[in-house]
Amino acid sequence: MTFTNIIQNNARPGHYECTVIENRALSRRYYLLVLSRPREMTNPEPGTFVHLLVPDANRFYLRRPFSVLDCDDETISLLIVEKGEGTRIMRRIEKGRPIDIVGPLGSTFPKVPGKRVLALGGGVGLAPLYYYGVRREAKDCETYRLLYGARSREDLFVDGFDWALDGVSFSTDDGSHGFQGNIVEFAQHEFEQSQVDVIFSCGPNPMLKAAAEFADRVGVPHYVSLENRMACALGACRSCVVLTRNGAIRYRTVCNDGPVFDARELVWKELPQA
């Protein structure tokens, strides 16, 4: 069974100025950034992202991509982990300040009517999978079970989120909350308990690779959301490519062909594992 070609990019991106509605620390490294939703902005589908200009930047900064974590008529929320200078600056930006974004951008996690989905979110990789979960309608899939893993309890945000999904379970590498072990081990464990037709995953590359090997082994279609360094985010500059094989070997763009790909089309050994 394959869903190749069901991954779509229907995003109609615009360039907008938003306002910071909330900027809340969730843990030492994670924070929730809630922006006003521009009136004209089209509805972001789960999997899509916004390309955000680091504010107050006197120096040259490329925009930074962040998946949509949630969205309603008034707001767009992002789940951000402090990684480098850009995410450090953004962490300090105050309520009421303007933020310049381009979005929504990119492809979406597919609709899989009648299928039972197991979604694996590692770290901030939670964002698009959480969004799929809270946003989905009955016709999008049969069931949607989300496994959410992090290094330890302190990086898991079990409070303050709307976990009204078919079920969410947690894992931590150190066992401080939920299943002890990495999220793919957890998936293996879950898989043995219940039926799974499709796997979605998002997180660090090593996790995605492990998930892909697992999905291959168990013979289940697997859709994965990738990260890469981006410049235009419109599929124009060819900066953000990954090697794919679907018949021919070719580079496809994470920004525009992705970020969601059919895992079996990716040439995994070429993906950086750091």
């Binding site: 040259f60 490329l62 235009c232 124009a236 060819r238 490519v241």
Partner: protein, 299 residues
Amino acid sequence: MVTNNDISVTLGPVTFKNPVFIASGICGYGEEYSPLVPIEELGAVVTKTITVRSRLGNPPPRIHEVPTGALNSIGLENVGLEAYIRDKLPLLRDKRVGVIVSIAAEFEEEFVEVADKLAPLDGYKGLELNLSCPNVEEEALDHGRNPEFVERITRIVKERVPDRALLVKITPNVTDIGEVAKAAEAGGADGISAINTVVGVDFDLETGKPIFHRGSGGYSGPGILPIALQKVWEISRAVSIPIVGMGGISSVDDARKFFIAGATAIQVGTSLWVDPELTKNIIAALHEHPEYLGTGTAE
């Protein structure tokens, strides 16, 4: 209130409605940037450089940010001449977009082939010979350093597309850019495009290796502005054909400096990623202040 002074510019046989273009490699084959930039309002889009055969390009990472700009190592990934003519060029035909097709090749015969195939087509106003791509394996694709070659190729292509604007894009990575510009002028170019990226490198402190697999990359963005202005100014004193200036433009003021340095038109590259309104703002400023043009050639 934007006044609508005439700010059209003429490059050889062709007139463009304004002198603000998007640089090659930034807007893909033209269409890709249209969600953010109304491309029909531009003087022109210069499409991604194409080669006779399609190219896979370099392995990622292909883009790297530094505090003063960006390094890239795309490696001329492109769909190839045939697919370009079949799939890409027609997309823009109905849109009244000013298209300049950027091409690169290794050998004289390839340039002839490209020019012959493009000559009978419509849907584009100009050709830009990219004789200056630093990000590729083949030394031959960087032959813009050799004046005789530049002159010969320019002549060969111009003969075949006499009714289009032929721009020759030259590299800043030479001792005397004026000499190369003169060669293009002698070959019959309608304009000089300058500058392409400056060769640069950055290293990963963790691994002790260059960021890019190929090592060096092309440096663009604000950090190259003083160099680009210098090169355009040098060229303006060496030739009398128009110059299409670029390199590091991130504001209306930056664009104005290119006109002072002697440019007839400008292209915007890297900074469009940051500010998608940049071309629009420059066009509006020029409509309002047409005197910004023709301020050229500070001695």
